[in-house]
């Protein structure tokens, strides 16, 4: 029972923002890609027929809060840890990104998944909900890197 309520909560997150029309979907959703295409031949990026990947949300407190709630409700914390600080999955708040840290790259990772275990949430979450997760992650402070660890 509670488990269903939690899922309704997730839907609520998605519905809380403006209704997503097919037109706005096309604006937010990147073209279907395969992983090798992340390497751009001759250094020239392929055209993005789906439009630009611009985060429609500002890092205001409401979007960040909703993104954080979805991060927990969709079990992202099960792999990436509470607060996205890393668990079996990598930390998403240490400023280091395997697949690019720009908003659009993070969106693409969540929407399509990544080949080493990241599930694709594009069929489960609305683009708006994913953009809010991106907004949440981007709002987390990045700790300073410690290149030398000392024990004495």
């Amino acid at each position: 029972m509670d488990f269903r309520l939690a899922l309704i909560g997730v839907g609520g997150v998605a519905l809380a923002c403006k209704p997503v029309t097919p037109t706005s979907n096309a604006r937010y959703v990147p073209p279907v890609i395969s992983y090798p295409q992340h390497v751009n031949a001759a250094g020239i990026a392929p055209p993005t027929s789906g439009g630009t990947l611009t985060n429609p949300y500002q890092p205001d407190s409401a979007s960040v809060r909703e993104g954080g709630q979805t991060f927990t409700a969709m079990n992202c914390d099960g792999c990436h840890g509470g607060g996205a600080t890393g668990w079996v999955g990598p930390s998403l708040v240490d400023g280091r990104w395997r697949y690019g840290g720009e908003d659009g790259a993070v969106f693409t990772s969540i929407f399509y998944g990544r080949p080493r275990g990241m599930p694709a949430y594009g069929g489960t979450l609305s683009p708006a909900a994913i953009w809010k997760i991106v907004t949440y992650l981007r709002a987390q402070p990045v700790p300073s890197d410690v290149p030398t660890e000392r024990w004495q």
């Binding site: 079990n75 890393g86 024990w151």
Partner: protein, 587 residues
């Protein structure tokens, strides 16, 4: 050389004719994960002794080129050593008859890398099994393969598990006669756990037995099913509330054993899901249990639940070691099991009656096990759940009083069981969690700390008749390796800070140690080489759980020592990742 099936049958019959388990004829090979059906990991070879173990030295090593946790063990069959790496699950065949042990072949399967995100606890593999000229093992992505032991040619590959449901398959199969037994991981992903029997000839599924659900799903025939403590129909349904059983977890990722005389297959089941127990009221049978089934049709004969309504992620996937012990003046056919919950159980393996259950490490969640009811006497202050907030100082931690990965051994000489243990406790803060297929179904935050005494692990010799340790070697870090014991009364184990050690099986005196380059989470083996000499082999390669990786041992991970793994922050002073196979011998 390929064994003909009639030869194989004759070998099985020869085994059947020997009355005492663990005393089966030992040809010096290592053909199945636990050395023999009884899973004793005892070698009858005698060249290495307590007198000469100090002269052991490394003879050979090989980098697997893989960084994941190197669990499980190699096989040695027909003078060939077979090694399966963690993901991408490469199978190497080394020719032990030639100088430098060159490769005969290697088999590189196509494994779906998506499995990396569905494996709860690193991309591990617990090893292959050999029978009838085939090396059989599981790929992480839910497939079982059989490879020709001579040529490396793939003979069959079948899908047994579903990644999209959160199932992965790192466990080591057991082969009994013409059947291969396999099960899934995924207790953290809301799976519906099972055990399958595959036809050794072609990999086809012969039967599937679920670990929860109706009697029909669980292959229970009420006229044959005789659990010692529980009665009633459909216990796998009635011990749950609503349909929580459908995503109730209960994986099979540990070790299997088999008693040819009783014709019973034994395996432990994993945790119930999710970690927040308030989402699954009831005993949650048969989570955290031992199940005894008939191999040929899967019929459940008896079952015993170690931890009813499991609150602490206490999987029971650890090995069931079969031994015949003199208890109260009577020779009893028992299985001995060291549970994650911190108790060591001596159980009549014919009936499922618990003869003895004593704590082998620090335990706070229960005061003891009531032998009349088979149930633990709980400390109600240590019960967990989303409504109970942060429950402090629960021992053992959810890594277990003993990790089920670290398969122990039994010596019929000393009649001791040799087991790697953890002295870790945890706080447990459960929360409500939603089930979304293919994503984690956990709902708890559980930071660890060292138990009383400050040391985090110990390697112990356990007397399963008295229910107490005969000796113990305390270690600074949790101990996660398996062990092997020999008729030379030497026992071998490894440590997370990268030492491989030999100890006197009677006294626990450390006779020799060697730094193998990375923490040991594998299980050592002992075998006879083509020259008739005795050898010891072990994997180095720390990993196998997130907390082992998070302790700054990953050079490519600047996240460094992050909570809740910061209890062992200086582990990185002694080890980093890296998979190696080592072979040791006498001068």
């Amino acid at each position: 050389m390929r064994l003909q099936s009639s030869t194989f049958l004759a070998a099985v019959l020869a085994v059947l004719a020997v009355p005492a388990v663990g005393q089966t004829p030992d040809d010096g090979q290592w053909t199945m994960p636990g050395k023999n059906f009884a899973a004793t990991r005892f070698s009858s070879l005698t060249s290495i002794t307590t007198a000469n173990a100090s002269t052991l030295h490394p003879l050979w090593s090989f980098s697997t080129g893989v960084l994941g946790g190197h669990e499980g063990q190699p096989l040695v069959v027909n003078n060939t050593m077979y090694v399966v790496t963690p993901f991408p699950d490469v199978l190497y065949a080394f020719d032990l008859t030639k100088d430098g042990y060159p490769l005969k072949w290697k088999y590189r399967p196509d494994v779906n890398p998506s499995a990396l995100g569905t494996a709860c606890c690193d991309a591990i593999n617990r090893g292959p099994a050999y029978a009838d000229g085939k090396i059989v093992y599981n790929l992480l992505d839910g497939h079982t393969v059989a490879v020709d032991a001579n040529t490396g040619k793939e003979l069959w590959k079948v899908q047994i598990a579903d990644l999209s449901e959160g199932e992965t398959t790192p466990m080591a199969p057991l082969i009994v006669r013409d059947l291969v037994f396999v099960g899934p991981s995924g207790g953290e992903f809301g799976i519906h756990g099972w055990l399958k029997a595959l036809d050794l000839a072609n990999g086809k599924v012969v039967w599937t037995a679920y670990n929860e659900g109706s009697d029909k799903d669980m292959l229970v025939d009420t006229s044959k099913f005789r659990p010692f403590y529980d009665h009633g129909k459909d216990l796998g349904l009635t011990s749950w509330t609503g349909d929580a059983w459908k995503r109730g977890g209960i994986p099979v990722w540990g070790w299997l054993s088999y008693d040819p005389d009783l014709d019973l297959l034994y395996y432990g089941t994993g945790n119930a899901g999710p970690y927040n127990p308030e989402q699954r009221p009831g005993d949650n049978k048969w989570a955290s249990s031992v199940l005894a089934r008939r191999p040929r049709d899967g019929a459940l004969i008896w079952a015993y639940q170690f931890t009813p309504h499991e609150n602490w992620d206490y999987d029971a996937n650890a090995e069931m070691i079969l031994a015949d012990l003199n208890i109260g003046g009577k020779l009893r056919h028992v299985l001995v099991h060291f549970d994650k919950n911190g108790f060591a159980y001596t159980i009549d393996r014919e009936t499922g009656e618990v003869l003895l259950a004593k704590a082998f490490t620090t335990v706070t969640w229960a005061k003891g096990i009531n032998l009349k009811t088979g149930r633990p006497t709980l400390d109600s202050a240590k019960l967990t759940g989303a409504s109970r907030g942060n429950v402090k100082d629960i021992c053992p931690s959810l890594e277990g009083g003993k990790s089920p990965v670290s398969a122990g051994s039994f010596s019929p000489h000393t009649e001791y069981f040799y087991v790697a243990t953890n002295n870790l406790c945890m706080d447990y803060e459960a929360s409500q969690v939603s089930h979304i297929a293919g994503t984690p179904y956990i709902g708890a935050n559980t930071p660890y700390h060292a138990g009383p005494g400050g040391y985090m692990g110990a390697f112990i010799a356990w007397d399963a008749v008295k229910g107490q340790p005969a000796w113990r070697i305390e270690e600074k870090y949790p101990v996660w390796s398996g062990s092997v014991t020999t008729a030379g009364d030497v026992v071998f184990y490894g440590t997370l800070d990268g030492w491989f050690k030999a100890a006197n099986a009677w006294t626990g005196q450390v006779l020799w140690k060697f730094k193998v380059g990375s923490g040991v989470v594998g299980c050592p083996i002992v075998y006879k080489g083509p020259d008739g000499k005795q050898y010891v082999a072990v994997y180095a390669g720390i990993g196998g759980d997130w907390f082992l990786l998070a302790g700054d041992v990953r050079s490519d991970d600047p996240a460094d020592v992050r909570p809740p793994a910061d209890f062992a922050r200086d582990l990185a002073r002694h080890t980093s990742q890296g998979g190696m196979v080592w072979i040791f011998g006498l001068p």
